[in-house]
Symmetry: C2
Subunit: 348 residues, 2 copies
DNA sequence: CTGTTAGCGCATTCAA
DNA sequence: TTGAATGCGCTAACAG
């Protein structure tokens, strides 16, 4: 094609100045009905659309929100389907406010900072960081509105969105305890226990687990922590662990993904869920209700998490974030078919 | 914080003109070693980062690539976890070329056009459109580089990336035929058969199915098309259909998602996979190998699809897209445990 | 090798 | 109510 249509072209066509056209476009200033009509017509005919680069350069904003996700290898986005739900929820609200979402894959920290400065991002949704590596300080230096998701930062001035992970862990464990289980293993992820504080979400669920144990007067046994990756494969391999721990009658997996792999692993060993091992997951993935048996799990709404995060960000931008700076979304235990009364003798 | 650091500030600090700083930043023009050092030092100290809005306004580009996805409700992103893989692959390559990904949820067509024009997007990744609603023409009017993913547009000048859907459908069906199955149902999605051409990906797989049937000298039976949504729920309900079609010994589901639901539905009816019904899926989801029995499926690499699409887009931008304008990524039949020899008598 | 200058398209004073 | 003029921060052409 040719040259873009600009303010100037419209002005000429409507026989007015560019200032007037600008006023019409932005609904500002006083413009008479007749000229407004004429201008709108010209805009229509020429197919004019304002150049946001120019507008934003002038107004010193970008109406762009960055979704900052951690990367394993520098510059590479972590493989996690949940992010799409988060992004979808965020985009929905952002769009309603005239903002758009841009992806910021966080590799080297400085790169991320540069990105935000260069692109003049108006706000950030930061997923899953901790304040133990100074990452939060990093974003603080940026001095733009940030909403931290699943991050559990201690600074009360920070805006945060998460789910009630601790309650989730508590509810799942309590459910198993109520069914008579006493030796409940925790599929916690591939991390050393002394590094648990760096994975706040997992730590919170772990807290909930311990709390339920405490209330039941049961001791905490570090030997029941299964430290394998939070993945289908990791879960699958947890079955081998289970084979050498015959006193364990239930496993609480911190993710449905791992729970699915684990269920497969258990069945491949010839054991039955839930008759011989009870299983609880976390997340309520789209197919968790459709496994056989259907997975008992702690359900969370990730799309909603994205929505709420952007809403909070909008408030933060308007400086009217006097209300709740930390939003904890509810989780819900969905009891399905992978949990049943303890029958310890079955596998012994 | 305060005011952003701009070219001017650096220039003053280094005692040079802004043009020289610009040259250093962009590695253009001739700058002496000593001044370059001085400028770089100033940049470092002040923490200068170029304002891309200004740069792009000047250079008339944005280094932004839009990922255009369909929405069901206007303005809302369709719920599909695959998109994250696509986005991740695309971002990986885009970032390597100094581009970033922005989300364009396509509701009303005009909105989308405005978005692209206003944000001055340099290129577009358009997912799953057809040329039967004139959507392709829409993007053509934009006159910016586009790569169409999973779209099967007829215009040979268009850049497209897809997988070999037809071969996938063919291979899956042929596999079932080789096992002795003769009545093979197709779980095709919630669309009228006379609208199939509007869903080119499904149509291609359907072509493959028919081709395999033809080669085996078997007639095509429209009565074997199961028209239920491509979702876990849809698949689950397909089990009821199966119950009333006892001559059907195998089902080819056009998506793993639906296949998972179907597997559950079949088992809930008390039937066994694969002894009584063989099942093939499509996609190879992350947990498809971990169902029980493990799902036989046609595997595709969606991350790779995203990568290739951006690579193609980059070539298109450089005008050196003389080579292949259409890339067909391979698919692979993964024979796992949901398919076995036909035993028609089992359920009759 | 380095500095001066003129816009990119727009929003926004300030005059008329 | 409308228009002329200024500058957002940067690049690129041209001068020195």
């Amino acid at each position: 094609m040719k040259h873009d249509v600009i303010l100037h072209d419209v002005a000429k066509a409507a026989n007015v100045s560019i200032a007037t056209v600008s006023n019409v476009v932005n609904g500002k200033g006083r413009v008479s009905k007749t000229t407004m009509k004429r201008v709108q017509q010209a805009i229509e005919q020429l197919g004019y659309a304002p150049n946001l680069l120019a507008r934003h350069l002038k107004t010193n904003q970008s109406r762009l929100i960055g979704l900052v996700v951690q990367t394993t290898k520098p510059g590479r986005i972590q493989d996690n389907p949940f992010y799409w739900d988060l992004l979808a929820g965020a985009e929905e609200i952002a769009r309603d406010h005239g903002f758009h979402m841009i992806l910021v894959s966080m590799g080297m920290p400085e790169e991320t900072l540069d990105f935000v400065k260069q692109r003049q991002l108006d706000g950030l949704l930061v997923v899953g960081i901790t304040d133990h590596r100074g990452e939060d300080a990093l974003f603080r230096t940026l001095d733009i509105p940030c909403v931290y998701i699943d991050s559990y930062l201690n600074d009360p001035r920070l805006c945060q969105v998460c789910v009630d992970d601790q309650y989730g862990g508590y509810a799942a464990t309590k459910h198993l305890l109520a069914l008579g289980h006493r030796r409940i293993a925790l599929l916690i992820g591939d991390i050393p226990m002394d590094q648990l504080h760096r994975y706040a979400v997992l730590q919170q669920r772990w807290f909930g687990y311990r709390k339920a144990l405490d209330e039941a007067g049961l001791p905490y046994d570090p030997g029941l922590m299964i430290r394998l990756p939070t993945s289908v494969q990791g879960g699958y391999h947890a079955a081998a662990w289970l084979a050498s721990h015959n006193d364990v009658s239930a496993i609480f997996s911190m993710s449905d993904i791992a729970a699915l792999g684990l269920m497969k692993g258990i069945k491949d060993m010839g054991w039955r869920v839930p008759e011989q091992v009870s299983l609880v997951g976390f997340d309520n993935l789209f197919m968790s209700g459709y496994t056989l048996p259907a997975l008992t799990t702690v359900s969370q709404n990730i799309v909603q998490k994205g929505r709420v995060a952007v809403k909070l960000l909008m408030e933060l931008m308007d400086n009217k974030c006097s209300t709740s700076r930390k939003v904890v979304l509810p989780v819900e235990l969905l009891v399905r078919d992978t949990t049943t009364k303890a029958h310890l003798t079955d596998r012994q």
